[in-house]
Subunit: 344 residues, 2 copies
DNA sequence: GGCCGTAGTGGGCGCGCTCCCAAATCGCTC
DNA sequence: GAGCGATTTGGGAGCGCGCCCACTACGGCC
């Protein structure tokens, strides 16, 4: 019996059904739906009514098939350790990205990659051009995922960079100035033996923060001593361990700049165990200004990174890159800010 | 000039190109790709070689168009306030979901909904059947988003429930027993004036946790007094405020069970301001066992929810529901566990 | 030797859409 | 009133794939 036009498959109305109801051709409906020019007001209105009446929603797969655009971007999080859980940093990034995308037709795909298998799946996924662009955070220097992304030639934006010559577009925070400001603050407090706990050596941010530390000391006329530098991996445990080492190597240490809040938390724990008062005996500054910084005892002075803004900027950059593929290589550096609380 | 088969659009090989190279028909290639039976070893091997040589990856849009499946599920987070940022709970859920999906062909779409506009977009999105199923967390009793999802008839699983008669499938943690265990612990410590700070009244979990509090008190032969019950909204600020009220209404309070860690943090702050020692004067228990619980001073006793496992269970349930749509209404309750630290 | 399975195979059809071109219509000008 | 460009319109073609049906081969059976 008279099965109406476009009423075959899922029962959802098609372009054709709308066209029939509006008494126009498919082309016209398509033009209206896509906001293209060259449609008479009469036709447009007829189509709009038909769309409303039928509750028409374009089929994305069909559109995608012909335009060969995916209408989606991926946010890749290389989920080493259990960082996603403990790093509100990522959550903020996600927020920023999502908010920037919200008046776009683009979908946000979240892709967590930790195992080798997942990496391979990601490769197939990108090769299949299932997304129009890629956002990636927490990249290490020789990150295989980043290299994978680079190979695909897809528009991509990194949060953070792998080196000073990062070939991909990226958004980063001003780690140098942030670290510098933190250490300068410590020096300004009259501290003489200022130590630092760095991040993982294969991350650019670690090196840059260390450099900021160096410069601030040099400017203050203080020596940069190897025994005042300990290495961590951004985790709480590594911070505790590193602080213990520092105390052993230089008992007279009176301040420490940690390249992450989590490490600062660990450091504070080590200090407490060693019966040092914070900040009287040892002043502590962290980096990230994550929520945990407000809850330490005493509340932690930390370098704020505008993480949500970072997410937004990343999304913006990617959008531009997708729109104008030939576009030149770009980067954005967001400024940081020292939030002074009671630990230093 | 001889433009090779399937070499028109994006330059990526198509089924047809693979078929040509392997010297078979499209149907056979399709069968191999989809692991269907009824392909001779000879043909299969030829096709596999051709696929490898060409680096063929199926075009998802085309497949999607004909199967009318989206190959994706959505994780919807109604992002009231700035909870995503501060709630590692969500991050764990995401982790769990992603890990459960990782050996599936399904994509995870993250959808944050806060404004009315975004809600409308979501409606169109779901109506467009752009996903095969929906996961949703943090649902309030009269959540318009949940109702929207319910209307679409899409397979859906909630994290938490809206009422005891939740019509949608859901995964929840055992709030009743969790709260009960917490309060029982406080009573076991000899506390006589045990207060509670509840979550937002329009969330089922709040009511259930309060009920757990009630039962534990009753079992201990203690009266449940209105002045010992204050209401918050899970946020830190609300916890601080509620604790202040409690202290005013009943200065003799010697313990407080908070329905979230964040509120417990706020409560601890209020207690400190009122010069009460924790736990000597007032014992404090939180709920969630979020990372922040380990960093309070003193470290907080809290009820652990298996949030990552919740995410996994949600995904599992949804997968089943997608596979077998007629399936009956199901729910999973995950058990909680009291983690005793120093605050109680 | 003819007949009927059964496993394997090829390819037409259509999913819903955008692209594009030819056709229709309109409004002016001379 | 004819002519011409500009605007608007309809609909064919084809995106890459899964579904399905017709067809071929190959045995084994009576």
């Amino acid at each position: 019996m008279g099965s109406r036009l476009g009423d075959r498959g899922t029962g959802r109305p098609t372009l054709e059904a709308v066209a029939a109801l509006a008494g126009v051709g498919r082309g016209t409906v398509s033009r209206v739906v896509n906001g293209a020019a060259g449609v008479s007001p009469r036709a447009r209105s007829a189509v709009e009514h038909a769309i409303a009446e039928l509750g028409y929603v374009p089929n994305r797969a069909a559109r995608s098939l012909v335009t060969s655009k995916a209408d989606a971007i991926a946010l890749i999080i290389p989920e080493t350790e259990t960082r996603l859980a403990s790093e509100p940093f990522f959550a903020s990034i996600i927020r920023g990205v999502a908010s920037e995308l919200s008046d776009t037709e683009l979908q946000l795909l979240l892709i967590l990659v930790s195992t080798q298998r997942e990496r391979e799946r990601l490769a197939g996924f990108l090769d299949g051009r299932r997304v129009d662009g890629v956002l990636m955070v927490s990249v290490h220097a020789d990150d295989p995922v980043a290299e994978l992304v680079e190979r695909t030639g897809l528009p991509a934006v990194l949060g953070g960079r792998r080196s000073e010559m990062e070939p991909l577009n990226y958004v980063d925070s001003d780690n140098l100035r942030g670290a510098w400001a933190a250490v300068r603050h410590l020096v300004g407090l009259g501290r003489q033996r200022v130590a630092t706990i760095t991040g993982p050596p294969d991350m650019e941010a670690s090196g840059v923060r260390l450099e900021g530390y160096r410069r601030a000391l040099e400017e203050a006329g203080l020596a940069v001593e190897a025994k005042l530098i300990a290495h961590g991996d951004f985790s709480e445990a590594s911070g505790e361990q590193a602080m213990a080492e520092l105390l052993e190597r230089e008992p007279a240490v009176d301040a420490v700049f940690c390249a992450s809040d989590l490490m600062a938390v660990g450091a504070m724990r080590a200090l407490r165990r060693a019966d040092r008062r914070i900040p009287q005996d040892v002043a502590v500054v962290g980096f990230d200004d994550s929520p945990v910084a407000r809850h330490t005892e005493p509340p932690m002075t930390s370098v704020r990174q505008p993480s949500e803004e970072m997410g937004r900027a990343m999304a913006r950059l990617l959008l531009e890159d997708i729109a104008t593929p030939g576009r030149s290589h770009r980067q954005i550096i967001l400024s940081t800010e020292l939030v002074v609380r009671e630990s230093a």
